[in-house]
Symmetry: C2
Subunit: 227 residues, 2 copies
DNA sequence: GTTCAATTCAAACGAACGTTTGAATGTTAG
DNA sequence: CTAACATTCAAACGTTCGTTTGAATTGAAC
């Protein structure tokens, strides 16, 4: 035929990755069997092992596909903002927005299909498997270091370990918010009507995180007393 | 024999619950097989089905054992504080401390063995299985409602949906902090030396959460713009 | 048209899973 | 002692898991 379909560097792999993203989110890694996954993707059972090698390798590929570009974009945005500021340290709020925005923008982008991934990612931070957490940690490490440096420049008066803990809290708030989209209903008393508005959520989340990051620090006596 | 061991309302059940708590935390529910679990507990393979009925029923029992007393204690503490205040609304910080303290105190109490449970609990909020999240949600519902009422009295000027979101954020921060005790190292750059000091952590966490709860609210224009 | 490598396919592999069974053992009461 | 019950035990149940196999099919190069 004259009009050839573009070669998608093998569509089978994409079908598998998309199905895996959705099913891993719904049922977890161990709860998703290869038979269900390949059936959903419309490919043969052996296709995963042929194209990816193993189920574990597929899991890694699922995360790499989205996480690598996302964290690269985060770092690039911080670099751009710092260059734009001309040596001046950034506003804490701007740094937070750069980090939070990258996740929330993926929720909106339905074409990217990243909504499933974001929820999957949120719950994988606390996955029982040590190897999976190590994988995620490794993929996040460069961005984490970059943001820590930006925060240190923005908040030179804050002790190092205090900053580490507050970044941990902020990271956790974001992760949980993305993962547990249905737990809000538990607090609210079940009203799923409130459709996810990523823009509004970003404002609420940023406001919360900025306040937490800049919260009054413990006095030396408090730390002493606790120790 | 004359000296009989006290009957612990069947020690086998306790051995199973303790082993389940530890192994569920380490490997997750699906990642923990009955054979490994019963071997760790030092009981026969069939003991779980005999005493609890099924693996799912065991999971529920693991949560009920700790969660019911914990949330009962939380509600009792709020009731006590409100009675002590004599009709006056409570300080937001006091409410937060009542909620956070119940979790963190269990970490310290090594006799209770609740440290495993707390970490297990933290990651179960985002468990893929809908039935498990429903179980946790049901066990939390009464305490959640009680705390929401206390917050509404403490912050009468805050819109209802704003409060719901901020409680969601606070709950998430706590859950993640408890579950991902090793992710701090990712941010800090791997230093497991800093042993968990629950008292100090409570101060840090409370300071962060109070600031977040009382953060400046979005202006009406922001909400309008986003919608 | 033939060749050759890449991919898909149906079928099967051994292992591990949660659960059940029926006999053996321990415990309590008459 | 014995009857009745509760608990433990080794063994097996049927099912599902991730993976492998070897033949069939496809698509491009010569």
């Amino acid at each position: 035929m004259t009009l050839r379909a573009v070669k998608p560097h093998h569509e089978t792999q994409l079908r598998i990755l998309d199905a895996a993203e959705e099913l891993f989110m719904q049922h977890g890694f161990e709860g998703t069997s290869m038979r269900l996954l390949t059936a959903r993707a419309g490919v043969n059972l052996a296709a995963v092992n042929y194209h990816f090698g193993s189920k574990d390798a597929l899991i890694e590929a699922v995360f790499r596909r989205r996480l690598d570009p996302m964290n690269t974009a985060r770092i690039a945005e911080i670099d751009r903002m710092e260059k734009e500021a001309g040596g001046q340290p950034l506003e804490p709020e701007a740094i937070i927005r750069a980090f939070v925005g990258a996740s929330l923008r993926m929720i909106e982008d339905s074409k990217c299909g990243g909504r499933n991934f974001i929820r999957l990612l949120g719950r994988t931070y606390t996955d029982p498997s040590k190897s999976i957490r190590a994988l995620i940690g490794g993929l996040y490490a460069p961005a984490m270091e970059r943001f820590k440096a930006a925060f240190e420049r923005a908040l030179p008066q804050m002790p190092r370990d205090e900053l580490v803990w507050r970044m941990h809290f902020m990271f956790g708030t974001l992760a949980y918010t993305l993962a547990a989209t249905d737990t809000v209903q538990l607090i609210a008393g079940c009203k799923p009507e409130d459709r996810y508005d990523a823009r509004l959520l970003e404002e609420r989340l940023t406001s919360f995180l900025v306040a937490g990051l800049l919260a009054p620090q413990l006095g030396a006596k408090d730390v002493k007393k606790a120790a």
